[in-house]
Structures are given as C-alpha cells and as structure tokens.
Symmetry: C5
C-alpha cells in the first residue's frame, strides 16, 4: 500500500528521501500576467533566483525528483524551509497544509484507477507571494488543461495570483476522485445481481477487493478534506479571501465524495452479508433434499430389509398377496412422510413473500 521510502532511521532531519526510481527533474517555468504568457524550460538552477524576483505570476513546475543537488538548489533559490523541502520530495504523504514564514505548503493527492488498483499520486504545492512551485514524483499530466487555460487566457486565471492557480490545480485533483469513487460504487451495484445468481466465493473476494480500494480512497480523501478545511481556516497571507470562496467549493466536493465512499462501504458490508446469507440459503435447500430422500427411503429400505431376512419361520412371506401388501404399506409410508414434510414447508421452495404494500406513502 504505502511503499514509503523513509530516510534511514535516526538520520538527521532535512535529509531528502528522494523516491527511488524517480526520473531526473524537468523544470518548466510559466510566467504570466493579464498581458501575456512566457514559458520556458529551465536547466540551470541559477536562473531560478532571478525568476523569483519577477513581477508576474510565476509557476515553477518540477516533474521528477531524481536529482538531489538540483532539488536542493531549487530550495535555496526560493528560500524554502528545510522541512518544507523534505516534505516536497517525501512520497507518499497524507494531504496537509502547513504555513511557513515565507510560503505555504500544501500536499494534495488524487486518485487514479490503474486496472483494479487505486493509485494515489501526490503533488506538493509551495505557494509564495507571487510564485507557485509544484513538485511531482513523475510526469502525470494533471495540469495540462490548466496550462492550456493559462496559455489561452480563458476565464479569470490570468487576472489572478498564484493562490488562484494553486486552487485551480487542487480543484482539478479533487475532481479526479469522483469517477474513481463512482466506478467502485458501480462495481458494487453490479455485484448485487451476481450474488443472487452465482454465489461463488470469488464474489466475496471481490467485495473485499472493492472494500479495500474504498478504504484506500477514504484514507486519502479524508485528510484531503481536512487539509482544504485548514487552508480555509488558516490566517494565511498566501491565500486571499477571494480565492478562499472558490476553495470552499472544492471543500464541498471532497466532502460529498467522502460521503459517497462511506455509503459505498456500507453497501459493501451489506453485500457481504447478503452473500453469506445466500450461501447458507443454498446449503439449506440442499439439506432439505437430503433430508427428504433419506427420511423417506431409509425406513422403506428397512422394511425391505426385514423381508429379506432368511428366517425359516416368517409367516408374512407365504400369503399370496403379502408382497403387494408390503408394497402398499411402503407406498402409504412414503406418501405420508411426503405430506408431513410438505406441511412443514420442507419440500418445494416457498414462493417469495408478497410485499404488496410497496406503493406511495400516504400523506399523513
């Protein structure tokens, strides 16, 4: 689940735990104001220091973390707090929001379905007065639509500051939870019919797989909600009240998603119960047939056994109609027991009960 790559235990704070396998950083700088947009790749960290002083809104997008000296150089260029920098490269982490003196840090995670596995990539946002830095473990492409909007100058984005840009990105990440939660919920709905028709243990296994995915989703969704909530409440110079109004909306989205997840989890529990009940119903049906067969034929076989005995003196064997009499007695026995069982409701599947009252509630 968490394949966390902690630094060595007892190592000094500030050690950067670069996730192994992370590609070398690709740094893209986008600078814009109402008038226009500049975009370029930066390879020399020295350029960054000068970028920082710019008048225009500056977005530094760092994709890939696999070069510790470069990451440190970025940190120095923007005077990032050592703990903030450590957080920026530490993958995975809970979503959170932390205020430092010179900038605010926000960790956001999103959810992506990769086959039947829920992946939860993470982005770290450093929000400064006029700049935004994003750190991504690898190239995810979440922010392509945002970049296009900046380029095209659509909507308000070019008139707003770095806080609005951060908001737009976090909002885009939160929006991605929804289809995943919905997908899991839909898969559970599908299982409902299968449970009745094919109560195979794989169904339960699958319910558990879905439940586990829901647990993963909730485990990242809940701190996300908390993080956004604390961004709304914090007295921060880096988020204007104007942008907080938008962020409040993102908070509502994630709250709604968490609720959907919770009710899906409850549904999963119900399905598991329904599955187990169905299995036991089936066993029950089989038991009933066995009981019927055994209970009817065992006594009959005994009667046949009696007259198969080789005693010399068995008066019943000699009369002309003895055989037919015994057959008759057996038939009566068989019929009697069948009737008895039917009365008890043990033969035949009972018709499902009639829930006729399922109409509209009367107005009280």
């Amino acid at each position: 689940m968490f394949s966390k790559n902690n630094p060595k235990i007892g190592s000094r704070p500030g050690t950067l735990a670069i996730p192994p396998g992370s590609p070398p950083p690709k740094i893209t700088v986008v600078q814009y104001d109402e008038a226009g947009v500049d975009r370029r790749e930066v390879n020399d960290p020295a350029e960054l220091r000068e970028i920082r002083g710019a008048e225009r809104v500056t977005w530094v997008d760092v994709q890939g973390l696999g070069d510790e000296p470069l990451i440190r150089a970025i940190g120095q260029a923007f005077d990032l707090h050592p703990v903030a920098l450590e957080n920026a490269v530490n993958v995975p982490q809970r979503a959170k929001s932390e205020l430092y003196e010179q900038h605010q840090l926000a960790i956001a995670r999103t959810a992506v379905l990769d086959g039947s596995v829920v992946r939860t990539p993470q982005v770290c946002f450093i929000i400064g007065p006029r700049y935004l830095i994003t750190f991504q473990e690898r190239y995810f492409g979440f922010f392509d639509p945002v970049r296009e909007r900046i380029q095209a100058g659509l909507g308000a984005i070019r008139n707003e500051g770095a806080d609005y840009l951060a908001y737009a990105m976090i909002d885009a990440m939160v929006d991605r939870y929804y289809p995943v939660a919905q997908h899991l919920s839909d898969r559970l709905e599908e299982l409902q019919d299968i449970i009745v028709d094919q109560p195979h243990p794989d169904v339960l296994a699958r319910i558990h797989v879905l439940r586990r995915q829901l647990v993963v989703l909730r485990r990242i969704g809940w701190p996300q909600r908390e993080a956004i909530n604390s961004m709304l409440r914090e007295q921060t110079p880096f988020f204007s009240d104007r942008v907080k109004v938008f962020l409040r909306d993102t908070h509502d989205h994630i709250a709604q998603i968490v609720e959907l997840i919770d009710s899906s989890r409850e549904m999963a529990s119900d399905l598991a119960e329904a599955y187990l009940s169905n299995v036991s119903h089936r066993t029950n049906e089989i038991m009933k047939v066995l009981t019927l067969m055994a209970s009817i034929f065992i006594p009959l076989t005994f009667v046949a056994g009696i007259y198969g005995m080789n005693f010399e003196h068995m008066p019943e064997l000699h009369p002309r109609h003895g055989y037919f009499l015994v057959l008759g007695v057996m038939s009566v026995l068989a019929i009697g027991m069948t009737v008895f069982f039917r009365r008890r409701g043990w033969i035949g599947v009972p018709p499902p009960p009639d829930f006729e009252s399922d109409d509209e509630p009367k107005d009280p």
Copy 2:
C-alpha cells in the same frame, strides 16, 4: 445513486454544469408587500435587473436550468458570485449554507418516494436583502402551497421579508422527509411478521433495499441538519433573528427525522439478524428429523442385513420364534433411541419459554 454531472475535469472554475435533460427555464416573478401581490412570467433577462431594485419583496422562481446563457443573465442581473451560480445549477449537492458578500446561498434537498426509489430533488436558494431566487432542476411544485399563501395573504408571510419566505420554503421541504422516513419504518415493521412466517431470502434482500434507502435518506438528512444549524449560527445580514427563531424549529424537525432514520437502521440490522437466526433455526429442525430417522433406522437396517446374509450356519434362523424375537429386539432398540432423543430434547419442537414476568415494573 449520485448520477452527478460534473463539469469536465480541469475545466475552469465558474463553468456551469447544467444537468443534462433539464428543461428550459421558466421564470416566475412574484412581488408582494402587505398591500398586495404581483405575479408575472419573465422571459427577457433584462427585466430582471430592474426588478431587483424594487421596494417590495421579490421572489424569482427559476424552474428548469436548460439554457446556460439565460442562467448567466440571471446571475448578472443579481450580481451573483460565480461560485454561487455554479452551485445553483450543480445537481446533486449536499445541503449547505454559504455566505457571500451580496447574498447568502442555501442548498436544500427533500425526499420523495417514487415507487421503491427515494428521490431527493434539490432546490438552491439565493437570499438577498429584499429578494429570493430559487433554482429548481425541473418543475416540482413544492412551493405551490407557499405561493397560494402569499396570494391569499394568509398568516404573517406578506408582512415578512425574503428571509421568512426562504424559511417557509425550506421548512416545507424538510417536512417532506417525514412521511418517507415513516414509510420506510413502517415497511420494516411489516417485515417482522414475514420473517417468522416466510424466511425467504427475498426478505433479506428487501431489508437491504430498505436499509439502502435509509442510508440515502440519512446521507441527505444529516447535511441538511448541519446546513440549517450553520444558518442559525452564522452572523448573516440576510437572516433576521426573528426568522431564526422559526428556523430553529425547522432544525428540531430535521434532527428528529434523522433520529427516526437512525433507529430504523438499527431496527433493520436487528431484522437481518433475526432473519438469519430463523433460517438457521429451520435448518436445525430439519437436521433433527434427519438425525432421528437415520439414527433409528440405520441400526435396525443393519440388524435386518445380518439376518439377510446367506451363511450356511446361522443358528438364529432356525428357531420357531427367531423372527419375532428379532422384531422384538428391533422394537426395543427403536423405542429406546426415541426415548433417548426425546430426553435430549431433540424430538418435538420445544414449547416457547414462558416470559411471565412481563408485567409492570414495581416502583423501586
């Protein structure tokens, strides 16, 4: 459940996610004061701007959302915040209350039983200083009684402001939860007898259906309660303390409904347990018959088998009364085992225990 129609991911904030299939808006404006009532259909959004300036209380009822430019025009006429407008057309959402600079937004949902499905239509209220705008996805008719009361001038409604009107409508929506919750609770009560008489797996399926409806109901009821609670607590210029006294009563109603839902859910769990216990009791009864039959007749059949063997030298076969002796032994065996089983309580359904102590508690 939630067939939410989110805007495209990464789309810019402020995008209106008109629910697909929503009919074109029908705008009805009602203006009133103590002296009288005016009512007209508005088709040209330009009229709205002038309506806004009116002295009298103005209620703009927008039914149907299927015309984005028109919706935007309404938003501009009343200076609605882009996020508020986005919220107004976003269906479905959690009930909530949000304060903007120029108005307050409240989302309320109600519950309607449509066959066995719980529908939860949503209304968005925008409450301004002297005006109220309501957005409904389609024509629901919730507010017909309110409109009639305004028309007839019954009660206090004509003497009050837009806040009172909003309160009256939210109260009407909350009142509709009750019959639905009661209906589900009644259906559960009905199942109690069926569980005992006809423990068919459909009963469990039905319990789960009801439980799921209760979950849906609770999922909309709980945020509704929270939303009204936050309307009561918020320092808002759009709700007077006079109206808050009334709203507090609505809060008590929804709280009571949520409690009814919760105890119905507990009842559903009990019913599921009772069902499973009943099924297992039945299996038990069947097992007992099988055991009885098999345990009594298997040894007897064995005895018969013995004397059915064809050995040349079997002394028991020759005496005159050998056969009857063996029959006698078998009878003794059968009776002995029946007695043994009866003593163990395995034959016959035990009488239900006697709970005689069910009288009035003695005063301590």
Copy 3:
C-alpha cells in the same frame, strides 16, 4: 413509534398541530408564596391575562390540548411566541430547551412501561419571570406529588420561584426513567438462564423486543440529557444560578440512566451472540450423534450386504464358523470406530473446562 401528527405540508408556520384525540383542556391555576396557596379551575381565558400580572408564583397547568381557540387564547394571554405555542402542542418531540425573549421553553419526556410497550409522554414547560405554564397532552398525574408539596408547604418549594417549580417537575419526570431502564435490564438478566436451557427462537425475538425498547428509551433519554445540559449552560434570565445547582443534579441522574441503557444494550448484543452460539452448539451435538450412528453402521451394513449376495460361489458362506467370524469382524470394526471417535472427542459431551483461577487478584 412516532405517530407524529405533523401539520399539512407547506402549511403556514404557526399552525397548531393539535394531537388528534386529545381531550379538551382543563386549566388549573395554582398561585402561591410563602404565606399561602390559592388553587382554582379557570375556564375563561380572559381571567388568565389578569393572573399573569400577579405578584405570587403562578403555575398554569393545561391538561388536554383539544381546543385550538382556547390554546391560542392562553398563548395571547401570556404573549407566547407563535413558535413556542406550536411547540407546546406538537406531540411527540425531542426533549429540548429554547430561549425566547419573554420566556423559556423546555420540552421534557418521561418513560412509562405500559405492558411491554414503552410509552414516552411529553410535557411542555413555558417558564416566565414569575409564572410557569405546563402543557400536557392528556391527564398524566405526574405532578400530583408536586402539587401536594406546594399545598402542604413542605420543603423549600414555597420559598422559591417558578424556575424551582419547573426544576422540581423535570426532576420528577427524569426520575421515572430509572425504573423502566432497570426493568428492561432485569428482563435481560432473566433471559440469560433461559438462553442456556431453552434456546427457542422466541428468546431471540424477545431480546430484539427489549433492545428496541432500549433504543426508544435511549432516543428520548439522550436529548433529555442534552436539553438539561443546555439549560445549565444557557445565559437565561429565567433560571437562577441557585436553581441551576439543583438542575445539575438532575443532569447527573439522566446521564447515569443513559449509561445504564447503553450497557444494557451491550448486554443484549452479548445475549444474542450467546443464543446463536448455543443453537449452533446444539446442532453440533446432534450432528455428532448422526455421524456416530451413520459412520459405525453404514460399513457394517455393507458387510452384511456382501454376505447377503446370491452368488453361487462364495467360499466364506460355507465354513461352520463363517457367520460368527463375520460377526466378530463387525464387532471389532464397531469397537474400533467407537474408540477412534472417542479419542477425537466426538462422543460424549466434554466436561466444561475448569476455570480454577477465579480467585482474588493478587496484589501486584
């Protein structure tokens, strides 16, 4: 459960939802101070207005709500807020406490066992500066001891104000929860033995009945606790700090009762589990007998079947002692299997394990 008689949906606030079947009001006014007590029946609401101005503590006891104009007249005489009046006649409601400008409203409910049904009658208290109004759906007689105490001048009651009177009544109502909770708890204790001796499905049904009563009790007890708690915390001119000290004690009582209810509910869950375990233990015992019988006799019967075959050439049939040899082999088989089963612990009920260590804990 809640057979709530809501007003028609969308009806205007302030509509009085008189509970159907409520008898016409009987109004008793008691006025007292340290010097003496006056008591009379009031039939003309006009008298009430003048009563209100009295110097002495005034208790207006309204029993029965079945006369809307009269109720409204009472409301007007004491300037009751429309919402307060609506609350006064709305039955049933959650216990609550609400502060209005001119008076405080408190709803209290108590618990009474009527056969096996828990009834939860409700009283509404309106506490003003020098007066107390109580509304009861019908004549319950809860307050007879209080009235006698006023009459007799026992204790502090005649020296205190309307707040103390309200406290005394709410305390009396809370005291009534206790015997009901205790009664349910005692019934559960009784079931413990029955579960072991007579595991009939009715026992489970009864556990569920008791559990449901506990749920009802908790559903009214918990808001009662909250209501008293909020009366303690509220900045109210209608309850003096002196009386709050007494009320705090009532709060402790209801808290203790709620705890008793909660632990009874846990006990009910344990009992249900114990019942199910006992049933399955019994099934197990029966299974063991069946297995024993079948496993021992089925092979023996097979052996007998072998020698019952009619082949012409079966050498074992001819020796003089063949029959006895086969009987011997069968005995050996039977004994061997019995021993095998006994070793496995499948025959005979195992003695209950010995928990000898149940002595005093040693001091550490």
Copy 4:
C-alpha cells in the same frame, strides 16, 4: 448492577436517600499540621461546628450513613449545600466533580473483585478551605495507609492542605482499578488456550462474564477520568495548582487503565470469534468423516444389494469368479473415491500452513 435506591419519585429535592442497610455513622476526626496529629472519635455533631473553625487541616471521616439526622447535622455544621449532602449519601453514582460556593464535591469510585463480581464502592469527598469530609457507605479501609502516613508524618502529607489529602485518597482509589483490570485481562489470556483445546459453550459464557465485568469497569472508569479531568480544568479555590500537578498524574493512571480495559474488550471480541470459528471447524471435521463414510459405503452397499436380489435370471451370479470380480470392482470403487476425496483435501486434517516469514522486519 446498579441497585440504586432512589428516593420516592416526585419527592422533594434534598431528600436524603440513605442506602438501606448502611450501618450507623462512625465519625473519626483527624487534625494535623506539621507539628503533630490529633485523632478522636466524635459522637456529638455539636462538636463538629467548633472543629470546623480549626487552624489545622481537619479530616472528618464518616463511615456508614445509616442515621439521617446525624448526617443532616454534619451537613449543617459545615454548611453543606443540600444538593451536595444529597449526593454524599446517594449510592451508587457516577464519579464527578462539582463546585459549590463554599466547598467542592467529588465522587470517586474504586473497583474491587469479590469472587467473580466486580464491586465498585463509592466515596464522596467534600473539600473545603481547610477541611475534608469523606462519606463512605460502610467501612472499606481504603484510607488506612493514608491515615498511617499522616500519623507517621511520612512524606509531604503533613505539610500540605486538605486538597493534597483529597488527592492522596483519590489516587489510592484509582490505583485499585489496575489489579482488577489486569486480573480480567489475565483471565482472558488464559482462555486463549482453552478455546483451542476445549471449545465448550461454557467458554463463551465465561468470555461474556468477563466482558460484562469489563463493561462495568469501564462504566465507572470513564466518568472517573472525566471527573479528574474536570477537577484539573476547573477554576477552583479548593485545589491549588501545586496539588493539580499531582492530580494530573492520577489522571494519566486512570487514562492508561481505561485503555487497558478497552483493549481487553477488543480481545474478548476476538476470543468470541475464535471460539465460534473453532466450533465450526470441529463441525466441519465431523462432517467430513460422515461424508467420507457415507459416500464410500453407500454405493458399495447398493452394489451388494443388486446381487442380493432374488431374480431368477441374473447371469452374473453363476460364473465361478463372479463374486471375486464384484469384490474387486467394489475395492476399485472404494479406492477411487478415497483418492478423489484425498485430492480434494477432504480426508485427513491438513497440516497447519507454514508461516515461515515470521522473522524480524527488515529495515527499509
């Protein structure tokens, strides 16, 4: 559980509910300062008033409550609030702390194992400026070590005030929870082995007994924690900050004990699950033997039955080796089915799986 002796319902507040059977009070007064200790029995309540004015720290220990006038006299001598006095004799109550104008009241309960019953005796502390009054239902001897410490002048106790004395006693009471909780936890540990070896229903009954004791323990432990917590937080003139530092430690003890209780309760649930699983595993094993026996011998018996039929023309009966051929066929059938069952894993207990990976976790 709670054999609470409430006063008569509707009785006036201030009524003392002396626990029936409580012995007549024995009043011991201990007065001390750094210089020395005085100790005497007091029989005349008139002495108490003068004792109250003493300069030295005064501890009035009242053991036994069975004399209402005497208790009232004590109350008057120390100006106890009527509600406080009522609380002092009301047994049992939740642990709590309440501030009155002239003194603080604290109820503490402790836990004592009496055979298999958890008793929870209660002590009421009234803490005044220079005095401490303790009320005990009967003579428990909790405070003998404290009294000896005062006598011997060990530790700080003689230099401290009444608050420190109260702390020392409450601390002693809290310390007594621990061995009881530990004892119950140990009993649960013992059951673990018994569950595997002797899955008798008494084991489950015993788990439930232990669980119920844990519930009782938690029900008194949790309010105790709350009570001490509120003593720490309250702005009280009767507890100095110096003593609160010590009391904070007592709070930590009770918190730790409550945690131990909670994890024991979780363990009890696990044990119940393990028990039920073990029982069902056993049933399973028995089922497998039955199936094996029946499935192998039933077809063989049928074959034997075929050749036991008395048809005139059965060609198989005549060949010389027919009998041996049929025996051969039967053997093949038997072996074949045994092999089939073994392959399915239905014969023989499978070896427990190998959890070889149970070594030290590797450092990541």
Copy 5:
C-alpha cells in the same frame, strides 16, 4: 501486555517505582556547542549539579534505573519535580507531554518487533533551558546515530539547543514504528493467499495474533500522536517555534502510521470474514457431494432391497428380462436425478463469475 509495576497501593506520592530487573544506571554526559563536543561518564551525582550550570548544551543520558538513591540524586541536581521524577522511572506509561515550572517532561515509546512480540520500550525526556535528560529502562541504543551526528558535527544539530536534540530523538523513535506497522501489514497481505488455499484454523489464530499486535501498536501510537500534538500547542518556554516546525513533521509521520495501522486492522477484519466464508464454502461443497451420493444411491438401494425380499409370490422375479429391466429402471432413476441436481447447480463447482467490467472508469 502491560506488566506494570505500580508502587504499593496507598503509598505516598513521589514513591519511585523502579522497574524490577532494571540494571544500575550508567550516566553519560555529552556537552556541545558549535565549537566542539565533550563526552564523559559520570558516577558521582555531585558532578551533575555543576554540569547543570554549563553554558553549552548538556545531554545527560541515564541508562538503567536500578539505583533509587542515585536517581533521586539526579532529580535533586536538576531540581526535578517529584511527580516528574516519578514519571521518569515509571515503566510502562502512555506517551505524554507535561509542563512543569522548571522543565518539560515528555514520555515517548517506540515499537520493536522481537520475534512475533511487539515490544514498546519507553524513554522519558526532561527538557530544561539548556539541558536534556533522558531516562531509559535499559540500554536500547536508539540514540547511537544521534550521538554520532553530534560527534561528527553533521547537520544543524550542533548549532541548536536542547529542544532540537529532544526533537531529533523523538523523531528517531517515531520513525521506528513504521517498519513494524509495515511488517504486520505485509504479514496480513501474505495471509490472503493462504486463506484461499489452506483454510486451517491456525490462519484465524494468526490473524488474531496480528490484530492484537496492531492493537498494541495503536495503543501506543495514538497517545504518541496526542503527546506530540500537545507539545505543538503548548505555550512552552522549552520548545522554540523554530523546533516546533520540525516537530510538526514528526506529528505528520505518526499520524500517517496510525492511519496505516487502522487500515491494517480493517484488513484483518476482512480477512477473518473471508476465512470464515471460505470454511463455510468448503463445508458446503462437502455437503453437496454427500447429498448427491446419498440422494442417488439411497432410492436405488431401496429398489434392490425390494427384490431382495423373500416373498413366495413376487411376479417380477420370474420373467427372463426382469433383472435387466430393473437395472434399466435404476439407471434411468440415477441419470434423472443427476440431471436434476446438475440443473439446480448442485453438482460441479460453478465457474467463478465473470467480472468483465473491470476496466478503466469512463470519464463522466
């Protein structure tokens, strides 16, 4: 679990409960500033008083607690509050943070896997203005990396105060939880396959063992989180805001670990359910075979029994093809029933259902 060695009940506060078996203390003093490091063993407590006055940061590491006078001497040298000293030697305790006038106390616990047992050694930190004292029950070696870093002058540690040193140690202890939690989580993952292939009761036992370890881990992890959180919130002169920024990061780590533990516990519950379901599925399969065998052969055997009877007049026995006719009838019966059972799905394991829809969720 907790083998707590409380002091004797009722003993006076301040009594030191030295854990039995704790070795005699080894006191190592490390003093450092930016310029250099001094390290020496101290045997005479008198030296400590002078050490306390030093300008440089002083770390007094006390390993082993088995010498009460020495411990008391340390306490006196640093003016430790008696309760603080008592806490320092009391093992085990909940993690906590407590502020005293002259120093702050923090208890931290870490987790170490020792075979299959989770050990949770405890360290007590006393943080003063320029000094840090650590008390360890025995020599654990947690702090060797920290000591080396001080020695080597790596990182910021030599430029910082005692608070940073305490932070670095607590952080190192928290980091140790992670591999243990991960190890337990991995063991659970492994069990998933074993549950399907070898559903032996030992698997459930093992799940319970893991669950109990997770419970232990959570029971120490949760207070640890709380403790660090209260260190962050407390207004303390002993932790600078600079260091709190680092400590906030430690808080995030422990929060993440607690979440991992919680989701592992949920997984354990799922596994237990899956195990039980698998066992019951197996029983079901066995039942089906038994039913098949018995239901098919019991009637056939009965037919054979019929014609094994020795009646004189049984017309069916005489025809030439009677035998073959009967064999034919039996075959028809057997085939018919097999077909019937197959149709019902009782023969053959059904193929696992096809969950084809497991692809990427469509964008909505």
